[in-house]
């Protein structure tokens, strides 16, 4: 099951920043990392990933460089200091959101095995 579009719109940039927090990556690598680390839940449409990266770059949350050392050019993206600050703030926000959802029982119910609530 993939995340709904509206939810992804808010989560996508945070997820990208989080993945880039470890190391710099090129586009396809990033797509694969997002999919594999979230069991496919955040398998982002590739047609939207590159605009997302361009937007993050415009906001100076990520920076890019072309690397020609691997035989063919690849554009690598890395998180900037400003991006890290943004990620920290977003992380806190998501945690607060998770707490709120937990308090409302949204998360606990969602984590119940199917049929437990029946």
């Amino acid at each position: 099951m993939q995340i709904e579009v509206e939810l992804m719109r808010g989560a996508g940039p945070v997820a990208v920043l989080k993945v880039l927090e470890r190391r710099e990556m090129y586009g396809y690598e990033l797509v694969e990392a997002l999919a594999s680390r979230t069991d496919g839940l955040l398998r982002m449409g590739q047609s939207t990933l590159y605009p997302l990266l361009y937007n993050l770059e415009a906001k100076e949350l990520v920076a890019s460089r072309w690397n020609h050392t691997e035989g063919r050019p690849r554009k690598y993206y890395r998180i900037t200091t400003k991006g890290k600050e943004k990620l920290a703030a977003a992380t806190k926000g998501w945690r607060d959101m998770a707490k709120a959802m937990e308090a409302l029982g949204v998360l606990s119910e969602a984590l119940q095995p199917r049929g437990a609530l029946a």
Binding site: Y28, G45, S47, T48, Y50, P51, P73
Partner: protein, 622 residues
């Protein structure tokens, strides 16, 4: 593959920036060249080209995206993955292109985005203005005035006199059509408005014969005018003209509705016709005097001054008409004395003297009692009412404006003017502000007018000005909604009073001297010899409040004033009355009405040695 110089920030990679940095504008391969040189299968090449072209980005931006997408698909194919699968996972081309285009725009520098922001701001501003203007228009066109007070009744109450038993107006009404008929018969159509008006003709001027022929046709009507002028009251009720009244003044236009009444204030069309009747009497007086018939001339003078008394009312326009007739009568007397003085025997002179004395005893001051109520009535018809004395101009002002500005009797404005009206109305003074400005203006005129002119200060005169301050300075637009409704000229009306009073006193003094000479066979030595036998009260010099100067020069009398410089020069120099300076000008005035510098000196008021054209007269006073 070629590096599309990715290390530069986007703002520094604009085509212009590249050019300025010494590079070629197209130093990098195009997206198409990059795709063509790639190893991608045709369907993926097509996707890359479609995406980059649809972005509409700059050449290097497209190359940048193409390079990245080529790398993306090459990575996908090495997974391994079929081209079809890679294309399917990539998603919708149009969405990708749209999002990339937006992202490109965000990445561009502020200088590139500024026009876009500015355009967006302008559009938003226009939208906001349109909404605000819509609200304004709804207020302007949607609301109705609150007409709560019958000001017309209050104005009628000001006159507060019961209808006279024998009002003069019906007699005038019967005589006026014949006067117009005589003009149509004997005068050319354009003469009435020209300086060659036969009614103003002298025995030396053009039109004299035509006027004489016309006078013969209206002899009966002139007798009616004289009899009507001897009655105490005119008997016209404001706003109650019937068809017979309208026919008598030569108009078929029905009296306007309340709004039109309110601003045209209040239909007083008879004033112009009565003034014309007075001009007929003046013409008759000159012709009679020229024939040696001083008695008829005296009766005509009495009639003119009588009409002046009848037409004086509570409106300033009535008062100004009355003052104009007093000026006409007094000038006529001086004219007769200058030209045909021998026609005035003792009886005729005494009648004229009596009429002039009665006129000068009247209260000549300017009063705005009716105009204040008229102003309030106009306001209640064209302003909204917030219940606290304030409000904004409403659409009901538009027909009025159309009539006033363009003479458009239908009372309609053009589409653009109507569209612009709400905006222009909002710039007009509010109800309270307009009223306060109006009241300040008329209060000042009344206050100054109530004092003798010789006590006026320079500041008083300046505050009157050629005309009092307009309410707004909104230029020359035909939609100066308030400005043109009340462009007060009442400041100058205060100046009319001393001017007319001066005319009357000159005539009184000249007639008194004439009577003295008739009785005693010689001119008096001075004005004091005339009081009180020939002059009940001294004639006053309006510039210092002292008696008008009277001297004998070369065996003939001279009446003179110290002039607007308010300095007695002892007749040296004595400026000729026929010069530009003869027209009465307010004290302290430095220039005449034509802007010419006024010479300093005393002013000869009578005899008038030259006419207005500068022609020598032949005084009949020796």
């Amino acid at each position: 593959m070629t590096n599309p110089s990715p290390s530069l920030p986007m703002s520094e990679r604009s085509p212009l920036c590249r050019l300025l940095r010494g590079g070629r504008l197209h130093s990098t391969p195009s997206a198409a060249e990059l795709v063509a040189s790639s190893e991608l299968p045709p369907e993926l090449r097509a996707i890359v080209l479609q995406v980059v072209r649809r972005t509409g980005g700059w050449r290097f931006e497209q190359a940048d995206v193409a390079q990245e997408l080529i790398a993306h698909f090459e990575d996908a194919l090495r997974q391994p993955m079929t081209p079809t699968e890679a294309a399917a996972r990539f998603g919708d081309v149009a969405t990708a292109a749209k999002l990339l285009r937006r992202a490109m725009h965000r990445k561009r520098g502020l200088a590139w985005r500024a026009p876009s922001f500015a355009l967006r701001a302008v559009v938003i501003a226009i939208a906001c203005i349109a909404v605000a203007y819509g609200a304004l228009a709804v207020h302007f066109y949607g609301r109705s005035p609150n007409i709560a007070t019958d000001y017309l009744a209050q104005i009628r109450a000001l006159a507060s006199t019961s209808q006279p038993v024998d009002p003069a107006w019906p007699r005038y009404r019967a005589a006026l059509p014949a006067l117009r008929g005589a003009e149509a018969t004997h005068f050319r159509g354009d003469e009435r408005l020209s300086h060659l008006d036969p009614l103003d003709a002298t025995d030396a001027g053009p039109g004299w014969d035509a006027a004489e022929a016309a006078l013969r046709d209206v002899d009966a009507e002139l007798r009616v005018l004289r009899s009507a002028a001897a009655l105490p009251s005119l008997g016209v009720v404001l706003g109650q003209f019937d068809d017979a009244d309208r026919a008598s003044i030569g108009t078929t236009t029905a009296q306007g509705d309340g709004l039109q009444q309110a601003v045209d204030w209040i239909p007083l069309p008879h004033l112009g016709e009565l003034r014309r009747a007075a001009q007929w009497l003046a013409c008759d007086a000159r012709h009679a005097a020229a024939r040696g018939d001083g008695a008829t001339a005296a009766k005509d003078v009495e009639a003119i001054l009588g009409i002046a008394g009848q037409t004086r009312g509570e409106f300033v326009v009535e008062q100004l008409h009355s003052l104009a007739l007093l000026a006409l009568g007094s000038s006529l007397v001086l004219d007769i004395l200058d030209r045909w003085g021998s026609a005035l025997d003792a009886d005729a002179s005494a009648r004229i003297a009596s009429a002039l004395d009665a006129a000068v005893d009247r209260d000549l001051r300017i009063r705005f009692a009716a105009d204040r109520l008229a102003f309030l009535d106009t306001q209640q018809r064209i302003y909204s009412d917030d219940g606290a004395g304030d409000g904004r101009l409403l659409h009901t002002a538009l027909p009025l404006a159309a009539t006033r500005w363009s003479g458009n009797a239908s009372g309609s404005l053009g589409g653009i003017e109507q569209l612009a009206a709400p905006a222009l109305a909002i710039t007009a003074p509010g109800r309270r502000e307009a009223r306060e400005k109006f009241e300040r203006s008329v209060d000042a005129v009344e206050r100054i007018s109530a004092r003798p002119v010789w006590t006026w200060t320079k500041e008083d005169v300046e505050s009157l000005g050629p005309r009092t301050q307009k309410l707004t300075d909104s230029g020359t637009s035909p939609l100066q909604l308030v400005d043109d409704l009340w462009s007060f000229q009442w400041g100058s009306s205060a100046l009319v009073v001393p001017a007319v009073r001066q005319h009357l006193d000159i005539a009184r003094l000249a007639v008194a001297a004439h009577r003295y000479r008739l009785g005693r066979g010689a001119w008096p030595d001075g004005a004091q010899a005339l009081v009180p036998a020939y002059l009940p009260t001294p004639a006053i010099d309006m510039y210092d409040g002292k008696p008008l100067r009277f001297s004998i020069r070369d065996g003939a009398p001279v009446i003179w004033s110290i002039g607007p410089d308010r300095h007695d020069d002892g007749m040296s120099p004595l400026l000729d009355q026929a010069s530009e300076s003869v027209r009465w000008v307010p004290p302290f005035e430095q220039v005449d009405r034509n802007g010419a510098q006024l010479p300093h000196g005393d002013i000869r008021l009578w005899p008038r040695l030259k006419d207005s054209a500068g022609t020598d007269r032949s005084p009949d006073r020796q």
